[in-house]
């Protein structure tokens, strides 16, 4: 299958400051990609480069197998057949909802425009508001209209720039799932930029974790969480602690918590010292276990408790326990190791 979007070794920046460093990734038709990273990592610059608002210093970008950005030329944004959804919605305040959606359809016949506008408004559930002005809508409604507007011209690629960050937390994940369903329904290829991993997990098939202008790892949310390629990804995605360990055999390390076995690890040299990532779900609370630890901190999170525990050796780990296991601080509770994925990093 030929890819819909290719970003190849892209370098870009502002003025004399290089922001992107050798950024590469591809998306197949219908795939939803996400660039996930802390603020200032350059993720928006990637998006603006794909849109054509920023030029490529080196490398190139292809949309539908056609070069749109290289170091020597740049197809203007309006000729790239892209759609874009912005963080602050950016609806045209002087146009009604339906006219906003119609805005990008100026090359179609009038009746085709009307049909497409109706269709898009129905898909995003905003038909009832066709005659409203943007300022009369809530943030979530505005973003739905913005999505309809961006999708109406059937863009090759939809670009979403932190589209949910101006919305209430409750609304964010709900809308993220809705948007994913809409994109799948329309078979759209899309790139989402966000700093919120839950949004990324809810929407994307492929996630690129980015920091300081470079992509550190690309994969599904599951891979990033359970098989982080480096410490930054391990730290940025999910929670966990890193504890010291000694390599026993190529598939086993010894820690204060006991022996941990795993496959698919980096080449482990027996006898060497490494660091092991322990996620809260790697530690199971079990009253019958012989191993125990003292509760140092606890955070009630509704369905579960997130406990910080201190082992007798002084090492601290985190443990996710069902919320009916309510223990006091300084209480000693039984724990058991249940590591499915052994993640080790060379000791630094």
């Amino acid at each position: 299958m030929t890819s819909q979007l290719d970003v190849e070794q892209l370098d870009a920046g502002y003025h004399d400051l290089q922001v992107l460093n050798q950024v590469s990734f591809s998306l197949q038709p219908g795939e939803i990609g996400c660039i996930l990273g802390p603020s200032g990592c350059g993720k928006s610059t990637v998006l603006r480069s794909i849109a054509g608002f920023e030029a490529a210093w080196r490398g190139r970008i292809l949309i539908d197998q056609v070069e749109v950005s290289t170091s020597t030329f740049s197809v203007p944004p309006e000729q790239r057949n892209i759609g874009m959804v912005f963080q602050d919605f950016v609806l045209f305040p002087h146009l009604k909802v339906d006219d906003n959606v119609r805005f990008g359809l100026h090359r179609l016949e009038r009746h085709e425009q009307q049909a497409r506008v109706q269709e898009m408004l129905a898909i995003v559930g905003m038909l009832a508001y066709a005659q409203a002005y943007p300022h009369q809508l809530s943030g979530g409604q505005q973003q739905r209209v913005a999505l309809a507007r961006a999708l109406a011209p059937r863009p090759s690629i939809l670009l979403l720039d932190e589209p949910f960050s101006n919305l209430d937390v409750d609304l964010r994940e709900q809308l993220a799932r809705e948007v994913r369903n809409i994109l799948l329904q329309e078979n759209n290829t899309a790139v989402l930029v966000t700093h919120d991993q839950n949004e990324a997990f809810a929407m994307a098939d492929q996630i690129c974790v980015m920091n300081e202008g470079s992509i550190l790892q690309q994969g599904s949310g599951y891979d990033l969480y359970h098989r982080p390629a480096n410490r930054f990804v391990a730290d940025f995605i999910g929670q966990g602690v890193i504890i010291p360990a000694t390599v026993e055999s190529p598939t086993t390390v010894k820690t204060d918590l006991g022996l941990i076995r795993g496959e698919n690890c980096i080449d482990l040299v027996p006898g060497s010292l490494v660091d092991v990532l322990i996620r809260p779900d790697d530690i199971v609370h079990d009253d019958d276990s012989v191993e125990s630890a003292i509760v140092v901190e606890k955070a009630f999170r509704g369905a579960d408790f997130l406990y910080s525990l201190r082992m007798d050796s002084g090492v601290e780990v985190m443990c996710l326990a069902p919320s009916h296991h309510d223990h006091k601080i300084n209480e000693r509770i039984g724990i058991r190791l249940n590591v499915d994925h052994l993640v080790t990093f060379p000791r630094t």
Partner: protein, 561 residues
């Protein structure tokens, strides 16, 4: 490092995010800036001009008087506008009393009166034959010289007149400052134990100081720029001195030197105003709209507040407007004739074309700034934006000197080579007048259009481009509809300012070309005050339009409350 070939292509996110092929735009901006600053540079250059006999004479006789009178006037008008403006602003922003909402916008109405018109009106009302003194004599039976009555046509009278019509500048800016700042800060000060009144002195007033100073400098600029009132009152200040020297003594160089000194005063005010505005930005507390702390006035206090707001409104607008209307009703049969209609038409045509040109140039400049955000372009626009401070008299001199030079050069050239005389081509033409209006009023439209464009976020352009619109289409389909109101406001304000403008029109108008303002000035100069009322009333009524626009934005300014 970035290869040089790529740098050329590199796009900046602040300015336009696309390569532009508009090679004439930027040079056009610079050319316009040079043209518009030419008059000011001309006048300023006379500071360095060696002094001549007439100048020596002026220095020995009247210069000190000009300086003293100007200083006293600024002091008096400063005090007057400060007390009225800040007082009313505080009452209408933080206190609650009957009629507050109406006062909040009505207090702007005196702004519709040009200084010279209120001066004529009060002179007509208060002079010996006027209604006030006649009634006084009838009631008391006093003889013509048996009592003391203050003379309107004096320095004190001028200070009072100016204070009555210029306080809205201070009122407007300090009220905005109170509304913005006191929300959060006053609440904090009250949690720290300040009462509403001590909060005013200790918190709100110091915070509003930059805004108040900015308003004050605007009022003083208008004071310095006035010619109509001071010449009617026979006061020796810079503007009247320039006229006397130019037309009485016939010495352009000495007149220009006076103008240059006046420019120094004005630039000081400009610097103070800009500096204050800059500081005012830092003093913004929050952009959150919460309800203001309100101090409810009852009984005597409420009455005092009402009286405090009624006095400037009554004497600054209602009374003089009523007097003008009365005179106009008595005299319109003899004054409103075909020639009056011609005057009105002249004024409207002149004002409308100046306003249209100002808006077109402002769009060109402000859009250029958005497209090429370079320091040189920004600086150019700042230079253009200084024009509003330059008195019309100074602008007129600055325009006429280079244009006359140009005319003479062309004439000499034609005589030499073709034995023809071109006479006066540009000076004394509508072109000269239009040029002067642009120097003085373009700033207003640029400011208006710039703020309108500034409210349209760059992401709006990005959104339109991601929907396959070219930059030109974006201008038509997105920017212009969004800026309709701003452009209209800019047009209206320049229109009204040109209608009211007196000294530059007086000096530069083509022979036999009259406007309402000039006619009112001439009639008043002939002591035919009642006859001037139709023209004056017309100017005031037109002047009310932008004031009402401003009032509307004042009442909707706090959308959240």
């Amino acid at each position: 490092m970035v290869p040089a070939s790529i740098r050329v292509n590199k796009l900046s996110s602040q300015s336009a995010s696309f390569p532009l092929r508009l090679p004439l735009w930027k040079p056009g901006i610079f050319l316009l800036t040079v043209l518009l600053s030419l008059p000011i540079l001309t006048v300023a250059s006379f500071l360095l001009y060696p002094s001549n006999e007439v100048w020596q004479h002026l220095r020995a006789t009247v210069l000190n008087e000009y300086l003293l009178n100007s200083a006293l006037m600024m002091l008096g008008v400063g005090g007057g506008t400060l007390v009225i403006g800040v007082g009313c602003a505080w009452l209408t922003s933080v206190c609650v009393f009957p009629g507050k909402k109406i006062f909040a916008w009505a207090l702007l109405m005196p702004l519709a009166f040009p200084g010279y018109i209120i001066a004529y009106t009060y002179t007509g009302m208060l002079d010996f034959a006027g209604p006030v003194q006649s009634t006084l004599r009838e009631l008391t039976g006093w003889g013509p010289r048996a009592y003391y009555f203050p003379e309107v046509r004096s320095l004190g009278g001028a200070i009072t007149m100016f204070s009555l019509v210029l306080y809205p500048y201070v009122y407007l800016l300090s009220r905005a400052a109170f509304l913005e700042q006191s929300v959060c800060v006053l609440e904090v000060s009250r949690t720290l134990g300040c009462s509403v009144w001590s909060g005013f002195y200790r918190v709100a007033l110091p915070l509003a100081r930059p805004a108040i100073v900015a308003g004050l400098s605007l009022a003083l600029m208008e004071t310095l720029a006035d010619y109509g009132m001071v010449s009617f009152f026979g006061l020796g200040v810079f503007t009247t001195g320039i006229f006397r020297t130019w037309f009485g003594l016939g010495d352009a160089a000495a007149a220009s030197k006076l103008a240059a000194i006046l420019l120094l005063f004005v630039f000081t005010l400009v610097i103070i105003e800009r500096w204050s505005r800059k500081r005012a930005q830092y003093h913004h507390g929050s952009n959150r709209y919460s309800s203001l702390p309100q101090y409810r006035l009852r009984g005597l206090r409420a009455w005092l507040a009402i009286i405090a707001c009624v006095i400037p409104l009554f004497f600054g607008f209602i009374l003089p407007a009523a007097q003008l209307a009365l005179w106009a009703m008595q005299t319109y049969r003899s004054t409103v004739d075909a020639s009056f209609l011609q005057l009105t038409l002249n004024s409207i045509m002149l004002a409308a074309s100046a306003a249209a040109l100002a808006v077109a140039l402002a769009l060109f400049l402000a859009y250029g700034k958005r497209l090429f955000a370079s320091p040189a372009v920004t600086a150019s626009i700042r230079v253009v934006a200084t024009g509003y401070a330059i008195p019309g008299t100074v602008v007129a001199i600055g325009v006429i000197i280079p244009l006359a030079w140009f005319d003479n050069q062309v004439d000499a050239l034609l005589r030499e080579h073709f034995d023809l005389s071109s006479g006066l081509l540009l000076s004394g033409s509508l072109f000269a007048l239009m040029f002067a209006y642009m120097v003085r009023f373009l700033a207003i439209s640029v400011q208006s259009v710039e703020s309108g464009l500034g409210r349209i976020r760059q992401s709006m352009d990005d959104a339109a481009r991601s929907l396959s619109y070219t930059p030109a289409q974006i201008l038509l389909r997105v920017h212009l509809p969004l800026m309709k109101a701003t452009v209209l406001t800019a047009f209206l304000i320049v229109f009204v300012d040109v209608m009211k403008e007196l000294p530059a029109t007086l000096i530069l108008r083509p022979f036999n070309f009259n406007t309402l303002a000039v006619r009112a000035f001439e009639l008043a100069g002939d002591e035919r005050l009642a006859d001037s009322s139709s023209a004056a009333l017309m100017i005031v009524l037109v002047g009310l339009v932008p004031v009402l626009l401003l009032s509307r934005s004042i009442s909707t300014a706090r959308a959240g409350s």
